[in-house]
Amino acid sequence: MEEERRARINRLKWHCRRALLELDLVFQRFWAREEDGLDVQAEATLARLLELEDHDLWALVSGREDTDDPQLKGMIERLRAV
């Protein structure tokens, strides 16, 4: 069970390696702060967010743009807070 979670988290962490340094830095802080508290639902939401293109993702994380999706909104707020 623990091994499965580690594999999932590692995969997500790798998907946080992005083309833009801005995002790399935000995700670095995010994992340092949030890794232990990330439940399965949050993992799924993060995975969905990571499907976005880098410029679109940064526009959301930096607050230049917003989303109406309540789940994504929650995750973006966590990312902004780091």
Partner: protein, 595 residues
């Protein structure tokens, strides 16, 4: 340790701009082509390129490839090879128009032509006045370029191996390159990609520095692999620094901020650029501003508890100007400097931005090394393009918008050269050298079994801090010599790194350790080459190479108009001459680089 073998006509490592462009050439010629990439292709660092791609299309005003060539030679401080520079500038229109046909959404003029804008260092009529030469797609040029080329590759049946980490070049006793070993991150499985042609397009290694604008993926994997395979690295002492990276984070603050009236200040609040560049002040060229900032810090006028940054002040600008003309700056300052830029200045330091040196190639994208007969003998089966390669078109200093052009032109020519070799039947799947593969397996096995070794994160930080301190934007004789010893010591640590997590599935700790193996080779090459080059040229500026009438700006053509070649084995240097003869026009004669 087990491994399997897969055969392809060509294997390309890296799916940024250069790799995707090379792949189009091979796949459309019907070659069975594999592209290995650490991240999904459209998340390569090419995405971060905003400025545009240079081409003398002349859509907005008169322009000529010869003027572009002159600007590039001058920008390179005459270290660029003039045959390669002529080749690139002449090919620019062709590759840009091709990209347009691939579906690249370039900005347009009212009459429907590709819109062109001016960019620093690009001039008309041999340096007379600025010219509009840069073709862009809003502020997402790199991103749009990757999308257009990725789609073209999908159509041409290029086989992508996404989330694979390349480990080592496979090179036999004859010096021929037969492919690459790689690890599937998903499973930890190791595969030898046995190929008749191997193309490296792995990007730069800007992460060797503590302060870098580069994304975390830029770990110089191809450069490190080439060095381990006995290929010398060319001109690695030349790194372009951007003056305004956010201190401690590296995130780039665009030159536009100073263009809109932003002012650099030291700890006393002084607008220090008035002393260094009385006319241009904060808008002086990148290298002048960067060196002034470092001088302020070195002389104790830096800001903060460690006096290690200066301030970029925009608090005097109207908030509406900042929000309207400088979108994103406010967010970057809040997120990475923790300041509200409308009310407080932003801490900034000169930050590593671009690697001018790399794997030595000719203008056909073929990797070349000194041999028995000439200085540049082709390594059979091996090609390189983009930031990992050194053609050499950027020489000692790159002009903005020439990086995207470099990856298009030399990505294409590397692909074309490989296709020609394959069609001529010159390349076969020669037997794989077991000893070479065993060395790679031993390296991975060492990492998996190391006990009591060095921590990867801390060792990388030690390297980055040492590089920043000893081989940064402004270089000092004693500091360089000390830095060589320090980096060689850290290299010993890198050979003994230990990872706590030994799992197979997406083991990011293992990947980071393997990346560090590559970064350290780049760091060694950089500091050793920089220590040896006792002149100032382009981005390499030393305090003991002053501006004198005999050597304007510290440039010493009598002794140093030559390319450095660093060999990993024996940590030794060699040199080769700069190609001053272009393909069809007269040589652009040496003169002092002044703007």
């Amino acid at each position: 340790m087990n491994y399997s073998v897969r055969k392809f006509d060509a294997v390309i490592v890296g799916a940024g701009g250069a790799g995707l462009r090379a792949a189009i050439q091979l796949s459309e010629a019907g070659m069975k082509t594999a592209v290995l990439t650490k991240v999904f292709p459209t998340r390569s660092h090419t995405v971060a390129a905003q400025g545009g791609v240079a081409a003398s299309l002349g859509n907005s005003e008169e322009d000529h490839w010869h003027w572009h060539m002159y600007d590039t030679v001058k920008g390179s401080d005459w270290l660029g090879d003039q045959d390669a520079i002529e080749f690139m500038c002449r090919k620019a229109n062709e590759v840009v128009v091709e990209l347009e046909h691939y579906g690249m959404p370039f900005d347009r003029t009212d009459s429907g032509k590709i819109y062109q804008r001016p960019f620093g260092g690009h001039m008309s009529n041999f340096g007379e006045k600025p010219v509009r030469r840069s073709c862009a797609a809003a502020d997402r040029t790199g991103h749009a370029m990757l999308h257009a080329m990725y789609q073209r590759n999908v159509k041409a049946n290029t086989q992508f191996f996404v989330e694979w980490q390349a480990l080592d070049l496979v090179r036999d006793a004859d010096g021929e390159v037969l492919g690459v070993t790689a690890m599937d991150m998903e499973t930890g499985e190791i595969v030898v990609f046995h190929a008749k042609a191997t193309i490296f397009a792995t990007g730069g290694a800007g992460r060797i520095y503590y302060s870098s604008t580069n994304a975390f993926i830029n770990t110089g994997d191809g450069v490190g692999m080439a060095a381990r395979a006995g290929i010398p690295l060319e001109d690695m002492e030349f790194w372009q620094f951007h003056p305004t990276g956010v201190a401690g984070a590296g995130v780039l603050i665009t030159e536009g901020v100073r263009g809109e009236g932003g002012i650099l200040r030291n700890a006393q609040g002084e607008r220090f650029m008035e002393r260094y560049a009385p006319n241009a002040k904060d808008l002086a060229s990148r290298d002048v501003v960067s060196r002034a900032m470092v001088t302020e810090i070195n002389e104790g006028r830096g800001c903060g508890p460690n006096k290690d940054f200066v301030l970029l002040d925009i608090t005097h600008l109207p908030p509406e100007t900042i929000m309207k003309r400088l979108p994103g700056i406010h967010e970057i300052a809040v997120q990475f400097a923790g300041v509200d830029a409308l009310k407080e200045p932003i801490p900034v330091v000169p930050t590593c931005h671009y690697q001018m040196g790399g794997i030595p190639t000719n203008y056909n994208g073929q990797v070349v090394v000194p041999g028995k007969r000439t200085q540049s003998e082709i390594v059979p089966g091996f090609y390189a393009a983009g930031e990992c390669a050194c053609a050499s078109v950027h020489g000692a200093n790159r002009l903005g918008t020439n990086s995207l052009l470099d990856l298009l032109v030399f990505g294409k020519s590397a692909g074309e050269s490989a296709v020609a070799e394959l069609r001529a039947g010159n390349r076969t799947h020669k037997p794989l050298p077991q000893e070479c593969i065993d060395q790679t397996l031993a390296r991975v096995n060492r990492l998996n079994t190391q006990k009591g070794g060095a921590n990867v994160h801390e060792t990388r930080l030690d390297m980055q801090r040492a590089m920043q301190k000893h081989a940064g934007v402004f270089r000092f004789k004693d500091m360089l010599a000390e830095g060589v010893e320090k980096i060689l010591g850290i290299a010993e640590q890198v050979g003994q790194t230990e990872i706590a997590d030994k799992s197979m599935v997406f083991n990011t700790a293992r990947i980071e350790a393997l990346e560090l193996d590559n970064l350290i080779e780049v760091a060694k090459a950089t500091i050793v080459s920089a220590n040896a080059r006792t002149e100032s040229r382009g981005a390499h500026v030393r305090d003991d190479a002053p501006d004198t009438p005999a050597n304007p700006n510290g440039r010493d053509d009598a002794n140093w108009l030559k390319h450095s070649l660093w060999y990993r084995e024996g940590n030794r240097l060699d040199y080769k001459s700069v190609k001053l003869t272009p393909l069809s026009v007269d040589s652009i004669e040496l003169k002092t680089r002044a703007y």
